[in-house]
Amino acid sequence: MVLSMIDLTTLEGMDTEGKVKQLCYKARHLHDATKGIPHVAAVCVYPDMVAIAKNELKGSDIGVASVATAFPSGHSSLELKLDDVRLAVEAGADEVDMVISRGRFHQGDYAYVYDEIAAVKEACGKARLKVILETGELGTFDKVRRASDISIAAGADFIKTSTGKIKPAATMPVTLVMLEAIRDHWFKTGEMVGMKPAGGISNAKLALHYLIMVKETLGDQWLDKDWFRFGASSLANDVLMQIMKQRTGAYQSKDYFSID
């Protein structure tokens, strides 16, 4: 289950066509040496790599997610950000991972943050919108909660902890606060919103802790790739390693698991 919820991600300045292609291959073929291993949920790249990823993943149901809106800082004009989103969507992105304007948020300009998310949502069209709060820059749980509420109200399909560029990234307490915001919205309206903790979840045991937290806070219907994702790349290999341990009874060397 964990494997099918992973968004494999490459967001580096030095991303190349080759790198993205390799990652896409890994997304489809996590561990061909063993049967019955699912593929990941999506591959997450920069907007200019969307077309390449889309092409590589043709014929699979693996989604292509693109970061947008002046990722990772979010400092730009609304017009440029919307262009950024359109660029990704036109290239075929199934999902858009936007960042909120943390500067505006800290200034107390919540209306701006709300409007921006709503505008991006509109620009997304059919693509699902994940809103990155970058909780490592928000400072307090109260602010995380407020940012979650704003994002959900503005139309986020998913809320996501972090860009992966700032430490701390996803933590369990921060994720719980966000899950509670989702739950409160669900209690009030009956609408589901997805959750994606990103960054820092690198082993299977920790992933299991997160799943239990989701199950106990929100319930079984969230335990699905449509409603819960892990933004993590190194997690996949650790989960594979645990699966192999269960099947063979022995831990294998890390060298048996491919790194793309």
Binding site: F187, K215, E216, G219, D220, Q221, K225
Partner: protein, 482 residues
């Protein structure tokens, strides 16, 4: 791959019992030795989660009580009274050190004997009990600083009777300050939970305390009565029900014995609309379902501001659904077994009363184990002050919820009880907390937390919840002439 296709049931994670050392039969601990009762009567100590007997315990006779008090008197005159405080402290320090060494064993026995979940006995009861000994050992040579310009003197022999809800912890609360102040002790644990007190007796023996400084005798209520009524006792300390407390108060009237009583409670746990609701829900659960509600300071009356009532109750029910009920020795268990058959009956009677009174009943659908004494966590809403379930102490996992509109209303309702042991307040506003805490007639008021204990913090009640304080500096004066 939906969540439903996977078996999410928690795998059993039982704490092992292989390492514990329990005798088949326990004698009385008098004068530093385990001695046979002249009466020769024993009774079973039962594991309430399996209904199996795990050891036999002595039913002490009047003559045994007399022997124990004599041993304590002798030890007081011969060793303890005149020993310098710093020497007494050395002895007392040995006890918690050895408790820490045997922490796992003590925790497992506590869970087996009382039905308390291992998570609580391991993380709360045993460490806190040790902390109490450490704390009061530190006071032993500093009593003159605690009461400046006085000459504090010990009282003599202390008769101590403790309840079954926190057996080892209550023993520590009683014994530690008594010894630190230079008194000797005869302690009687509750009949359903004698075993950790007897393990403590073994530790005290091994720690080589002078014989008779601590004596531990077991048996039913009549033994406790004989002990507190014994003419050569100087001090009576009791924790338990208000009914028994009244009886003790009558028995010692006019005898000159110094008394402290820590009795029942019906605490108000108050949730304001500006509280952090999710934290408050955790606090409500901790307040009433901790230790199956067998807590004198349990937050058994929930007051929710009407504007957030529906939200709080919905979240509370949601949270209750994820509580795990089962074997007390399993590390995943949240709710253990009810301490005894009698107590289970009391709780069930009150639940029936609540339903009959027309309160709305809720309990998560949990399959209760067939063997043992179990009660699912229970919530009553639509309750009024006039309901019996809101007035009387149930001492089980049963929560009675009322709503309120204004601050003055909730203060009035919260204080409208014969008890006054504890209370909880949940709000983000500091000024409201200070207002509430000064208006609340309760010995302990927790703000944005519940059931927090520390040896440095005094604990005790107002009104029918008793008098005298245990813990902290205040706890010393209960065992001294100043």
């Amino acid at each position: 791959m939906k969540g439903g296709n996977i078996d999410w049931a928690l795998a059993p994670a039982p704490e092992s019992t292989g390492h514990i050392q329990l005798k088949d039969r326990y004698e009385l601990f008098i004068g530093g030795k385990f001695v046979k009762s002249k009466g020769g009567n024993y009774f079973d100590s039962i594991d309430p989660s399996t209904e199996k007997a795990i050891a036999q315990v002595t039913e002490a006779t009047k003559a045994d009580v007399d022997r124990a008090v004599k041993a304590a008197r002798t030890a007081y005159d011969k060793y303890w009274k005149d020993m310098p405080g710093k020497e007494r402290a050395k002895y007392i320090y040995r006890i918690p050190r050895m408790m820490q060494e045997k922490a796992r064993e003590l925790a497992v026995i506590e869970s087996m004997d009382g039905g308390k979940v291992i998570r609580e006995s391991r993380d709360v009861d045993v460490p806190l009990a040790a902390a109490h000994f450490f704390y009061y050992a530190g006071w032993a040579d500093k009593l003159e600083y605690a009461f400046p310009n006085r000459r504090p003197e010990p009282l003599g022999v202390a008769a101590q009777v403790i309840p079954w809800n926190f057996p080892l912890l209550m023993a520590a609360w009683k014994i530690a300050p008594a010894l630190a102040c230079g008194n000797t002790v005869v302690l009687k644990p509750a009949e359903t939970t004698s075993l950790t007190a007897l393990k403590l007796a073994e530790i005290i023996q091994e720690a080589d305390l002078p014989p008779g400084v601590v004596n531990i005798i077991t048996g039913h209520g009549s033994v406790g009565a004989a002990l507190v009524e014994h003419p050569d006792v100087n001090k009576v300390a009791f924790t338990g029900s208000t009914a028994v407390g009244r009886h003790i108060q009558k028995a010692v009237a006019g005898t000159g014995k110094k008394v402290t009583l820590e009795l029942g409670g019906k605490a108000a746990n108050i949730i304001f609309e500006d509280a952090t609701i999710d934290q408050a829900v955790e606090g409500i659960v901790n307040g009433i379902y901790f230790n199956q509600g067998h807590v004198c300071c349990a937050g058994s009356r929930l007051f929710v501001q009407e504007s957030v009532h529906d939200e709080v109750i919905r979240k509370l029910k949601h949270r209750m659904d994820s509580l795990v009920l089962g074997s007390p020795l399993d590390k995943n268990t949240d709710i253990g077994a009810i301490n005894s058959k009698d107590q289970l009956k009391t709780i069930k009677d009150y639940i029936a009363i609540g339903k009959k009174e027309g309160a709305e009943y809720y309990a998560p659908e949990i399959a209760l184990p067939k063997k043992g004494y179990w009660c699912a966590p229970t919530l009553f809403t639509q309750v009024a002050q006039s309901n019996r379930i809101a007035q009387e102490e149930i001492f089980g996992p049963v929560l009675a919820t009322q709503t309120f509109r204004t601050v003055s209303e909730v203060i009035q309702k919260a204080n409208n009880t014969p008890y006054g042991l504890s209370a909880g307040v949940w709000t983000d506003k500091g000024s409201k907390i200070f207002n509430l805490t000064s208006e609340m007639r309760a010995g302990v008021v927790w703000a944005n937390t519940y059931n927090k204990f520390d040896p440095t913090s005094p604990f005790g009640g107002y009104k029918e919840s008793g008098f005298g304080r245990e813990g902290g500096l205040h706890g010393l004066s209960a065992y001294l002439k100043v």
